[in-house]
């Protein structure tokens, strides 16, 4: 009898404590799939949310709803958006965050803080900088037949695989953002026609947007960092007559280009401090590449290949140098030179950390790229 009583009490108790307080039903939620942040003229934030709606009928496809509000902080703006939207706005499924160029030029940490503090936010959301305003890009609503939120997310993802932009999520930049010895870079999104183009990198220094790298340089940066994606393709003009651009001047121009894919990459970085605190960074890249197109020469002769190896090595070294120059100009310490100093030359770092931004520009980079052609497809 006692036991039965006990069981009854337990059962009824369990009925009452089964997840009542923390239940959060999907049918009561409006899911945010992406957010865009821009500055508003009055010092406020202008936030654009992409809300995903799945219609109840099975035949209909999901739709995006775009809503723009203003607020003092991201969370404030979200609450204002909540005022205009039925049900509750939820961010569990947030897939990307887009920051407008103008806002990125200010410190972006305060904008992102809420995502780090909230236990329910999704830290694996991608993050990027939008040319112009984020609102403009999100207002496209659809690119071709794809909804804007999916398009941006998938586009960045595919560009990560082609080593065009870095793999960055909110979580990944968090340790870097607060670390004085390293800067992060983000994908740079441009509106082109009614489409989105992701091919460049936005550089940051001290959490402020300071410039962009061209698409070739972006890939080079990722290689210098040792972050090769699945595919890494470069096209180089191998013409011996210098860079002649039109077909009239050089009728053979179509034959001059060589496209190759980097199959294997070995990257080494050494930071050396010489007397007088001159910092030299030796960067060594060894690439094994396969030729993808090269109409001009047959590649069966060893001599031709050796020549090409030499030419490509030189061109790639130049590109690396150019990339590093641009990064130094933007003060973006994307390779974490400061980090290396901090770890292995703490005394030098102590002297330099106050003015690291400008000291970084004095660092001497010595990149060496060695290219070796190992594959050439199924014809010679």
């Amino acid at each position: 009898m006692k036991r039965i009583c006990f069981l009854c009490v337990m059962m009824s108790l369990l009925l009452f404590i089964a997840g009542c307080w923390d239940q959060d039903l999907l049918k009561d939620a409006r899911l945010i799939y992406g957010g865009g942040y821009d500055p508003a003229p009055n010092g406020k934030l202008r936030v654009t949310f992409v809300i995903r709606d799945v219609p109840s009928g099975e035949q209909q496809s999901p739709k995006n709803d775009i809503i723009t509000t203003e607020g003092d902080t991201p969370r404030d703006a979200r609450d204002h958006a909540d005022d205009q939207v039925s049900r509750h706005i939820r961010t569990y499924k947030n897939r990307f965050i887009l920051i407008g160029e103008e806002l990125a030029k200010q410190d972006i940490y305060p904008v992102l803080e809420v995502f780090y503090r909230d236990p329910k936010s999704s830290l694996n959301a991608r993050i990027g900088v939008a040319q112009g305003t984020a609102e403009d890009i999100l207002s496209l609503k659809k690119v071709g037949n794809v909804l804007i939120a999916e398009e941006i997310d998938e586009l960045i993802k595919s560009k990560e695989e082609t080593t065009t932009v870095p793999k960055v999520t909110l979580e990944k930049i968090y340790p870097v953002m607060l670390d004085p010895g390293e800067d992060f870079v983000l994908p740079y999104l441009m509106e082109q026609g009614a489409r989105v183009n992701v091919s460049r990198i936005a550089m940051f220094h001290n959490n402020k947007f300071t410039g962009t790298l061209s698409s070739e340089e972006s890939t080079m940066y990722l290689l210098l960092k040792g972050r090769k994606g699945k595919v890494t393709r470069f096209t180089q003009n191998m013409s011996t007559k210098g860079e002649m651009s039109t077909t009239e001047e050089n009728p053979q121009i179509r034959y001059d280009f060589l496209t190759f894919n980097v199959d294997k990459l070995k990257q080494k970085m050494k930071v050396k401090v010489q007397s007088g605190d001159q910092i030299t960074v030796h960067l060594k890249l060894k690439m094994k590449v396969s030729v993808i197109e090269y109409p001009k020469d047959r590649l069966e002769k060893k001599q031709v290949v050796a020549e090409l190896n030499k030419d490509l090595s030189k061109k790639m070294t130049d590109l690396a140098q150019k990339t590093l120059d641009h990064m130094q100009k933007a003060r973006c310490d994307g390779l974490g030179i400061g980090r290396q100093l901090m770890a292995f030359h703490p005394r030098v770092w102590k002297k330099q950390k106050e003015e690291w931004g400008s000291n970084y520009q004095k660092v001497h980079f010595a990149p060496v790229v060695q290219v070796e052609i190992t594959k050439q497809g199924i014809i010679n």
């Binding site: 404590i17 923390d22 236990p119 694996n124 979580e171 990944k172 340790p175 390293e182 974490g336 980090r339």
Partner: protein, 361 residues
């Protein structure tokens, strides 16, 4: 003296020690160590593990003199009946207090990470009911469950391995940035997440076999846990830059929050669920230690009758510890009492027993 069905093997003793040692400390340990020892936090854990090893030898030497008595049995034999019984009650209090602290921290973490809106009492009741269910069983049943649930530790290690995708090993350099003094000082900090090995004081007579084997089992358990902690601390240190660490109080969970597999979006929740398992085991271990004592005094050796009101005491202890000021006080109290009851007193008792030539049968 000890009923046959309560006997456990030496292997089970090892797992018992392991499960009692892994507690709430693991989540916050990297954060605390980084504060004082910087990149060398993982060395501090190793030092702490070594210190624990020394303490285990002391406890073992003490228990060895009374092979058929628990601590509650041999205390009166060493110090006389009155003082001995008084000390027994202090030990019971210490065990209960440890369990209460673990429970309070458990509720804090779960309340902050997963069940945000659930009131604290509900979390506590849920945790305590599960613990009660296990703690009222005899030792063999408890030990068997501990053996099985040690598998979760392997899964926890595997999950933390995901973190290495984002690792940056330069975060731990320069290793001696904080100086050896601070590294050793933080070993003190690392000692408290490792508590739980004092289970040997109560378990010793229940274990089969010779005394040497028991020491081996306890030491092996401690070694495994020290290595596990070192690994987790090291992982956290290479993933979070020194500048971020002060902001993240549960680095292990935080690093997993951003990962997602194909079907699982929030790995931190999986980790947390496994951790809940391990923490409740630690609590059961403390509850068992306390109730054995209570059972001896009030219920003629039946520890299970002491379980229900022990649970109530723990509930009250954990309900009190809601504000940071109280939890800080708890932490301090644990530190002091740990040194007194697990390091100081046993050492004195050992000397005393040695010089007075007191021995059990």
């Amino acid at each position: 003296m000890i009923p046959e069905k309560s006997k456990i093997t030496q292997g089970q003793l090892m797992f018992f020690i392991i499960q009692s040692q892994v507690g709430v400390g693991i989540l916050t340990l990297p954060h605390k160590l980084q504060e004082s020892a910087k990149g060398a936090g993982w060395i501090s854990v190793l030092i702490a593990g070594l210190a624990v090893q020394v303490i285990i030898v002391i406890l073992w030497a003490l228990c060895r003199r009374f092979p058929s008595d628990t601590i509650y049995g041999f205390l009166p034999k060493i110090t006389g009946k009155f003082l001995g019984n008084l000390l027994c009650f202090l030990y019971i209090g210490y065990f209960l207090f440890s369990a209460g602290t673990v429970l309070a921290k458990f509720a804090d973490v779960v309340g902050r990470w997963v069940l945000l809106a659930t009131p604290r009492w509900a979390l506590l009741i849920l945790a305590l009911l599960t613990c009660m269910y296990l703690a009222k069983e005899n030792l063999r049943v408890i030990a068997r469950l501990f053996v099985i649930s040690s598998l979760t530790i392997i899964v926890m290690v595997a999950l933390s391995l995901c973190g290495y995708v984002n690792a940056n090993f330069s975060y731990i350099f320069p290793i001696t940035e904080a100086g050896w003094g601070n590294i050793i000082k933080s070993a003190n900090e690392a000692l408290f997440p490792l508590v739980g090995y004092e289970a040997i004081l109560v378990l010793y007579p229940f274990v089969e076999g010779k005394s040497g084997g028991k020491l081996k089992a306890a030491s092996l358990g401690n070694m495994m846990i020290t290595l596990f902690y070192t690994f987790e601390v090291f992982t956290s240190l290479v993933i979070f830059s020194p500048a971020v660490m002060p902001a993240v109080s549960e680095p292990l969970l935080y690093m997993l929050k951003g990962f997602s597999f194909q079907i699982i979006q929030r790995i931190d929740l999986i980790f947390l669920s496994l951790w809940v398992f391990v923490v409740s085991n630690a609590m059961v271990s403390w509850i068992y230690m306390a109730t054995v004592g209570l059972g001896r005094f009030f219920h003629r050796g039946e520890h299970k009758k002491a379980v229900p009101y022990t649970i109530c005491i723990l509930f009250i202890l954990a309900m009190i510890a809601q504000e940071p000021s109280v939890t800080d006080f708890y932490d301090q109290a644990i530190k002091v009492s740990h040194y007194t009851f697990v390091v100081g007193l046993p050492l004195i008792l050992l000397c005393f027993a040695y010089f007075m030539r007191k021995r059990g049968t």
